[in-house]
Structures are given as C-alpha cells and as structure tokens.
Amino acid sequence: MSYETDIERIEIIVGELERSEVPLDDALRLFEEGIERLRAASAALMQAEARVRKLIEESDGGFTLADFES
C-alpha cells in the first residue's frame, strides 16, 4: 500500500464523513480505517535516516544492494 493510496483513501473518508450522514456503524468503521491508514502512511515519515546504496546485478540475474559511500 503506497503513501498516496493511503492519503487518497483518507481524503475520501473525510469527505464521506463530512458530506453525508452515514450510519453510525459505518462512520466508526470509516474512522477506524482512516486512522489505520494514517498510521501506515506516517510510518514512512518517522523512520530513521536512510542510507545511500548501490544496486548490483548478480551474474545469476538477481539483485543486491550494497552500501555506497557518497
């Protein structure tokens, strides 16, 4: 699930909750889904500083990532 699909879904949920009166059960379900997605989307924002790496294609066609000193 990518960051934008999460964010877009949250926007839809907020719109839904603001626009129409949805049954309370549904409203709560939507809210919970929104919170869950927000948590997932925010996880990427909170992780530690990422390293720079180098893509290496192995002779067998596989790939490995090696640290790259920049």
């Binding site: 309370l24 925010s42 990422a50």
Partner: protein, 431 residues
C-alpha cells in the same frame, strides 16, 4: 626506388629518397625553370619525351605533394551529392561559391557523427586533402564532420524524435504522476559525477528518510547509450523502487548526447516505474526529457520533484488526523442534534395535546354542569330524599311522620312530614 623510371637514370631527385621532389619546394623542382638546368634535359624525369614519366608516378607524386603540403585541416562548405555507399562509406561534395571538393568519409570515422548530413547543410569537416590516383582526383578524406550551428545534431534528434512519436512514445497521456512520497528512489548516473552529489544533498535536506539507490552507468563517451539503457533495464527488472531519476550534470553537447540516444529513450519509455529526466544545464530538451514522465532542468531540481519536504508531509499527516477526527465528531454531533430536535418536538406535542384535552374537558364539564340537579337547586328549588338517598318526587312517596332530607343549594335540612295533601290539579290520588 626506381618506380616510374623508364631508364636506369640517376636523377638528383631520386637521390633524395622515394619522392622525386622534396615536399618543401615541389613546384620549383618541377617547373619550367628546371628545364634549363645544367645537368641537361634528358637527365630530368619528364623534362623531355625520352624522360616522360608515367601517370602513376605523377599521381603518386601529386598525392605525396598534396599530403605533405597540407596537414589535416578544417574546411567549410555546403554538402552536396551526398551518397552513403552500401559498404558504409560516405561520398559527398563540399561546395563553395565557385569551387568544390570531393570528399569521402570512411564508415569507421562516422561513429562520432550523430547522423548523416544532408544536401544543402552547411558544415565544417576535418579532413586530409589528398589525391586519389585511381581517378586522378583531388579530394579530401574526412575524419570529422560537424554542422555549422547545430544542424547535424538537430537533424539526428529530429529523426529520432519522429520515430519515437510515430511509436506513440511521446504522447502526453503516457506521462505518469510521480509518487508524492516515494520510499526509495533509484538514480541512474555516473557514480562520481556532480549530479549524484547534488541529488543526494537535496534529498537528504528535504527528506532524509528516503532511500537513494545508485544505479551506476556510463553517461558519456563510447558505449554510454548502451550502458544507460542497460541500467534502465536493470531498474525495470528489479522493480523495488518508487521513482527513477536518470541524468547527469551539465557538459558540452557531445557529452550530453547519450541522453539523445534513441536506444536510451526507448528503454526509458519502457520503464515500468515513473521516471524523471535531469540532464545538465542544457537548454535543449533531450530525447530522455521527452519520454520521461517528468523533466527536471537539473539533477537538483529532479531531487526536489522526486521527494516532498518531510516536515510538510508530517504536517499533512497531522492535518489529516485532525480532519478525520473532526469529521467523526460532526457525524456524532449531527446525530445528537437530531435527537435534541426530536425531544423538543415530542415535548411540544405532548403539551399541545394536553392543552387540547384541557379545553375539551372544560367544555364537557360545562355541559355536565348544565345537566346537574345542583344547577336546579341553585335556582331556588329543593329536592327531597329519603334516608336511602332516593328522590321523593311525589306525594305518594311520603307518609305522615316520614323523616327525609331536603337538599338545598347550600346544604341539607332534616325534616319530618306532618301531613300529605295532593294538589287540586294533581292526577295522583292520595289515600
């Protein structure tokens, strides 16, 4: 050594070596003045019918003279009669206003040329003037060619652009939206170029949580297009990345030319991941720029386009949380309001119905009152009742000495009948 000599004659020129005439002053050794040389006419090749030289010798000598007289040099003119031969060599004519020069360019020298020139194109060629003995022509062997202005590059680019357009690879509808928040960005560039340093610096500043994956590739010189295409294919096969940046820092046009290569452009167009092209500070748009999903003017600009500012993304997430909560609160509030309305309506309803009932009650009470015997008493009448409460409405109900009650409007009187008399008009007979 004796090539071309008809007779075993040792001439001064032959003593000098393989060339009849020293390159430094060929015309003087050959001109009419030498006819009067003291050695005698017969001793000088070509100076008399007896010493006539062969065509081959002359042509060979002319070739040597011309090549000795002119180093490789740049020559300016207009291309005409351009003919690419089946064997790969190019033959053409370089024209001035009143002169022309036959030219040949061997296929091995064409690699650095972006595309074949076309007739009418103003060019400069780097060539060695020479003589081609087999045809007796003065010509130029060209080793480099460049259009005046950017004609040749422009033409190559236009041709490749047309092919890409014909295949639909330049359609705007193909352009994908870049991920707003990629977690991993691949950078296809030289591992020690300024472009990589710039991209790393900008991404670190804006969004240090994003992982940068370098995909090293040769960005200029021989083999650069093939290597760039290989690197793009590599990223496509790997696939574990959200955005791809391909580029390099600024440089001369030839240095950037790999990014105008059709093979690179096609590889980029086939990349399954959204792409950003960032080629130097070149004003011209490269083929890669045309097929990429996003074009950045510089590698730094590419990095800015690729990742958001982390603080802004965090603010956005925080704002979303607030929006979500408020939306839920409003949902609940809306319900509460509705219940409140209902309660109010209900209360109003009850009150109104009570009022209605009250009004009806008093109406009925009035009617009841009118019917009550008490009302009659109020008008001054009295009612007689015996001890059982039965009304004594006739004299037949009475007997002398009967105790009874008289009901008046404001109380009761205990009475005793003394005597009973029927009224004269009464039909009742009293015994």
């Amino acid at each position: 050594m004796k090539r071309g000599s008809r007779r075993p004659l040792v001439s001064p020129a032959e003593l000098l070596g393989p060339q009849l005439f020293p390159v430094a002053e060929p015309p003087r050794a050959y001109g009419p003045r030498s006819l009067g040389a003291p050695l005698g006419l017969a001793a000088i090749p070509g100076a008399s019918p007896e010493s006539a030289i062969s065509v081959e010798l002359l042509a060979q000598q002319a070739k040597d003279v011309v090549e000795g007289a002119f180093p490789r040099l740049w020559i300016r003119g207009e291309i005409s009669d351009f003919k690419p031969h089946r064997n790969g060599h190019w033959y053409f004519c370089l024209r001035g206003a009143t002169a022309q020069l036959k030219c040949v360019m061997w296929s091995r020298d064409q690699r650095a040329v972006p595309t074949s020139p076309s007739d009418g194109m103003q060019v400069v060629v780097l060539g060695q003037p020479t003589v081609y003995p087999a045809q007796g022509t003065f010509q130029c062997v060209v080793s480099a060619i460049d259009a005046i202005g950017d004609g040749l590059w422009r033409k190559a680019l236009d041709e490749a652009t047309a092919r890409l357009r014909a295949d639909g690879l330049l359609e705007l509808s193909r352009k994908r939206v870049l991920p707003r928040f990629p977690r991993r960005v691949a950078v296809i560039t030289s591992p020690d170029g300024a472009a990589l340093r710039d991209i790393i610096a900008v991404m670190r500043r804006r969004c240090p949580t994003v992982e940068i994956v370098l995909v090293p590739a040769k960005v200029q010189g021989d083999g650069a297009p093939a290597d760039l295409a290989r690197a793009i294919g590599c990223v496509t096969r790997w696939g574990q990345v959200d955005t791809v940046i391909i580029g390099r820092g600024g440089g001369a046009r030839e240095d950037l030319w790999a990014f105008n290569s059709e093979v690179v452009a096609r590889a980029l167009a086939n990349c399954v991941i959204p792409t950003i092209s960032a080629v130097g500070h070149e004003v011209d748009v490269t083929l890669c720029d045309l097929v990429a999903d996003h074009r950045a003017a510089t590698p730094s600009a590419a990095a800015e386009a690729a990742v958001p500012v982390l603080a802004e993304a965090r603010a956005e997430a925080a704002a979303m949380l607030i929006a979500l909560r408020e939306a839920l609160v409003r949902q609940v509030q809306r319900r509460r309001d509705r219940v409140e309305h209902a309660r109010h309506d209900l209360r109003m309803g009850v009150t109104r119905s009570a009022e209605r009932r009250g009004a009806r009650m008093s109406a009925i009470a009035g009617r009841l009152n009118a019917l009550s015997p008490l009302a009659t008493l109020a008008r001054g009448f009295a009612v007689a009742r015996d001890d059982s409460g039965a009304t004594l409405g006739s004299i037949s109900d009475f007997a002398p000495a009967l105790d009874f009650d008289l009901l008046l409007q404001d109380g009761t009187v205990r009475a005793t009948a003394r005597s009973v008399h029927p009224s004269p008009r009464s039909p009742n007979k009293v015994q």
